[in-house]
């Protein structure tokens, strides 16, 4: 495209842009798809892959609902039903919820900070390939009848060597380890980017709320995912080489698995809840024309939610006969966490009252989120009290609660974020009438599906049953729920249709379609590979973070991929970090690691062979490319 070489352009800015374009050019050559390390490209792939898994999870949900529509239905046999409901849980939690948040984080955290790329680009590329291979292998397992069948929670001893024969759960444990390592890798990338790459002037107390939310989520991932990885490894060792950690006959304890799994499980559901709060804050502040009320309150609330969420996992185990005093402590903790969450909702509603809300499609989804999430929050507080929970634990009441919180909070907000950020990602506007139709269909379908589930739970219908008998008062409610599920599916499908249609011939979006003030709207959409021409300098001292940038950072060596690293607290420029360009090694390491995990599921000895392969890939990854860091070249931006 650039016929004129940089030297001939007289004007400084245009020359800078050409040099930056060459320095940050996307990968070239036959394997360029696998050599990409640009944060926007990897983030986009994360979001698209997560949405594909969301569709797969949705199909599984519809299959479950068809099987439960009538009593003693023979649509699915029990074995297939167990595999499908296990994969519905695993896909939605491990392959959709966490990755879509991290995908949006990888895409927008650098943009919100005015940075050219994340601090560790190859690590983010590696994590994507690990996630992609993990998800693919899990679904290859389903197609070859080795799908997991003990629930996404896989309680021992049912998931143990004696009661879950074959390699079904070995495969599942390895894929859980695989996808959670990729989540850990992205968490490291996001924390380092958020802490070290704030533009000068954006001190810690003026960082955008979404970046705060992603940072807090990443710290939670850092402490929660290792627990499930070690628990899954211990279960795998129990199943494959015969260790006795969960074998109650030899002194192990099946309850230990529940403690370990839920110690990860509950922070995990907050991991997929905090970024939506950040997105909601961004969307609300844009569509109300003012910064969100109580910026400090929201950030502190999210931090306290992050800490508190590690202290209430036993409310999943109230019915296992634990001592009464212990469960009372966890009742208190489970109820206390509703205070910071409630505070954030009040801040959002206060912003509606103080600003000028424009009821556009994204804000419609966020209002849907607030309305449904409050019901989920209330049923959660109900289930926190022991005498109530032991009656309704593991019934459809809990299924209703968790979907109100997960779909109500996470999916509605992600839909709102998709409508809000789709113009920036693709450069095209989504059709708003189709968006409104999609919202109302989803909202009505959602409530039609999950509100009656609370009644089903009260009428004594347990969870995870592949069928039920007539004459117990459940048949008609289940039929109504199945109808509601199809309406919800059409609602989400309309958004999918909207996105596919808009990519081809949506309205041109331009730089800032919503007239928002945050930094990501200050560059073209879709942003070029070098994102911003200059790293902005923000006026420090102003209370809100929506001040216009008042200067630029100069003196970069534009011909190299340089990122400005700033101090953590006051964001003063500190160091220019040279990041490597496109490289094939992340893909190779991701593939070999995923193959190693899959191989281990078949035979533990694959670990040795896989380790050697991974070391070879790591050597290739870290082998220096010979370019000196300190040498100065001629093209410095003026």
């Amino acid at each position: 495209m650039t016929t004129a070489s940089p030297q001939t352009i007289a004007d400084g800015r245009e020359r800078d842009r050409l040099i930056l374009q060459q320095a940050w050019a996307p990968a070239a050559g036959p394997l360029r798809w696998f050599k990409e390390v640009n944060a926007q490209v990897i983030g986009r792939r994360y979001i698209i892959t997560a949405l594909i898994f969301f569709v797969l999870g949705g199909i599984e949900a519809l299959l479950i609902r068809i099987q439960l529509a009538r009593p003693e239905n023979r649509f699915l046999n029990p074995d297939l039903y167990d595999q499908i409901f296990t994969l519905h849980g695993s896909t939605m939690m491990f392959l959709f919820a966490v990755p879509v948040m991290q995908g949006l984080g990888l895409y927008f955290v650098p943009l919100l900070l005015g940075a050219r790329n994340v601090a560790l680009p190859r690590l983010s590329a590696f994590s994507y390939y690990l996630y992609l291979c993990g998800g693919l292998f899990l679904y290859i397992g389903l197609l070859s009848n080795t799908g997991p069948d003990a629930g996404w929670f896989a309680y021992t001893p049912l998931s143990g060597p004696q009661f879950s024969s074959g390699i079904r759960l070995d495969f599942w444990t390895q894929m859980i380890i695989c996808t959670n390592i990729s989540a850990l890798a992205v968490a490291v990338v996001i924390i380092v980017t958020a802490l070290k790459q704030k533009p000068p002037g954006m001190s810690l107390n003026r960082m955008p709320v979404f970046v705060w939310a992603m940072t807090i989520q990443s710290f939670m991932v850092l402490f929660a995912m290792p627990v499930v990885i070690s628990a899954a490894t211990m279960l795998f060792l129990d199943r494959s080489v015969g260790t006795n950690i969960f074998n109650s006959a030899e002194g192990g304890d099946p309850l230990l698995w529940q403690h370990l799994f839920w110690f990860f499980g509950h922070p995990d559901v907050y991991i997929v809840f905090i970024p939506p709060m950040g997105m909601a804050a961004e969307i609300i502040s844009t569509f109300c024309g003012r910064p969100v009320v109580g910026y400090q309150a929201i950030v502190l609330a999210e931090i306290s939610t992050g800490f508190l969420s590690f202290g209430l996992w036993v409310h999943h185990m109230f019915a296992t006969g634990l001592p009464q005093l212990g469960t009372a402590l966890f009742t208190a903790a489970s109820m206390m966490i509703a205070i910071p969450t409630g505070m954030q909702i009040f801040c959002f509603i206060a912003t509606f009252w103080t600003g000028r809300p424009r009821l556009d499609v994204p804000l419609l989804w966020i209002s849907g989120f607030i309305a449904t999430f409050i019901i989920g929050g209330f049923t959660g507080v109900m289930l926190a009290s022991v005498p109530f929970d032991v009656q309704l634990h593991d019934t459809f009441f809990v299924v209703g609660h968790l979907h109100y919180v997960l779909i109500g909070a996470t999916v509605f907000t992600v839909m709102g974020a998709l409508y809000y950020w789709f113009p920036k990602i693709s450069g095209r506007m989504l059709n708003s009438t189709l968006g409104v139709w999609s919202f109302w269909l989803s909202f009505i379908g959602f409530n039609l599906t999950f509100l009656p589930m609370h009644l089903l739970g009260l009428r004594g219908m347990p969870r995870r049953i592949y069928t039920y008998q007539p004459g117990l008062g459940w048949s008609n409610l289940n039929l109504l729920i199945t109808v509601g599920a199809f309406i919800l599916a059409t609602g989400f499908f309309l958004t999918l249709l909207n996105m596919i249609k808009a990519r081809a011939n949506g309205k041109e979006a331009g730089m800032n379609p919503w007239k928002a003030k945050s930094l990501e709207w200050k560059t073209a959409s879709p942003p070029p590979s070098y994102t911003f021409l200059d790293v902005p300098v923000l006026p420090s001292g102003g209370p809100s973070e929506d001040e216009e940038p008042e200067g630029v950072v100069r003196g970069f060596d534009a011909s190299r991929r340089e990122l400005l690293m700033t101090k953590v607290v006051d964001a003063s420029p500190d160091y220019r970090h040279i990041v490597p360009g496109p490289s094939i090694w992340p893909f190779l390491l991701g593939l070999t690691s995923a193959l190693t995990f899959a191989g281990i599921a078949f035979d533990v000895r694959w670990a040795a062979i896989g380790a050697v392969l991974c070391i070879i890939m790591l050597i290739g990854w870290f082998w220096p490319n010979g370019k000196s860091l300190t040498a100065r070249t001629t093209w410095t931006t003026e």
């Binding site: 004007d11 400084g12 800015r13 601090a119 490291v188 924390i191 380092v192 070290k196 000068p200 850092l222 402490f223 995912m225 290792p226 070690s230 628990a231 211990m234 060792l237 015969g242 260790t243 006795n244 950690i245 030899e250 002194g251 192990g252 304890d253 230990l256 403690h259 370990l260 560059t523 073209a524 070029p528 021409l533 902005p536 216009e548 940038p549 008042e550 200067g551 630029v552 950072v553 100069r554 003196g555 970069f556 340089e562 400005l564 690293m565 420029p573 500190d574 160091y575 220019r576 970090h577 380790a611 790591l618 050597i619 870290f622 220096p624 010979g626 000196s628 860091l629 300190t630 410095t636």
Partner: protein, 220 residues
């Protein structure tokens, strides 16, 4: 709500380029940084946080399962001998010294001493692994013989895998610094390797006590 037209219309096709008093010139900032100024240091600290979460899980599992037993380590388990594990423990503590000095040398830019430090660390790492494998064989229990056996093998296996990774990484660093002329990035790598070895030594203290000293004390 008219957005005041600021002097710098901030977008990619921005054309005029008058300097403002808020612009910052970073051309004199270094491109090598050690310690918390470099994102690689932060990435390593976060990795250490992750691994310490796994260490905490393993300790919690050990204690949770220990409570279930009246006699520990299990009715028929033989008390572990303290000889080899103690030697392993001492060697691991010694390894931290050369890699720490190599890291300090790297920061001061003395390539010679940092390469020496790396070489000593690599050799000590190899000796540690040899001692560790012999300790594995000398263990009185197997991984399938009861809960204590399972825990010993799982925890020692986890720590050994991390140590193998550390030794291989030090080996790679040594190979690169000996062969290549461009060594600035590897100098940063040495400091991060030092952090990792430090974590390995620290994490072995609770495991050493729980797996060997505590059962031996109980069985005395």
């Amino acid at each position: 709500m008219v957005l005041a037209e600021r002097k710098i219309a901030y977008c990619t096709n921005y054309m005029d380029n008058r300097m403002t008093q808020h612009d910052i010139d970073v051309s004199n900032l270094p491109t090598i940084a050690f310690g918390s100024r470099s994102p690689l240091w932060w990435a390593e600290m976060l990795t250490i946080m992750m691994l310490s979460a796994v260490v905490a899980t393993l300790i919690a599992t050990y204690l949770y399962l220990r409570i279930g037993f009246s006699s520990w380590p299990g009715p028929d388990a033989v008390p572990p001998s303290l000889f080899l594990p103690t030697i392993c423990f001492v060697v691991l503590l010694i390894v931290v010294a050369p890699i720490y000095s190599a890291s300090k040398a790297a920061q001061r830019g003395e390539r010679q001493r940092s390469t020496h430090g790396l070489a000593i660390t690599f050799l000590l790492g190899i000796t540690f692994l040899v001692l560790r494998f012999s300790a594995f064989n000398e263990l009185g229990v197997r991984w399938y013989s009861g809960v204590y056996g399972s825990l010993v093998w799982v925890i020692m296996g986890f720590h050994t895998i991390l140590t193998i990774a550390a030794t291989v990484w030090t080996g790679i660093l040594l190979g690169i610094t000996l062969g290549q002329k461009d060594r600035e990035r590897q100098q940063m790598g040495i400091q991060i390797n030092a952090l990792y070895w430090g974590f390995l030594a620290l994490s072995w203290i609770p495991f050493y006590v729980l797996l060997f000293v505590y059962p031996a004390a109980l069985m005395v």
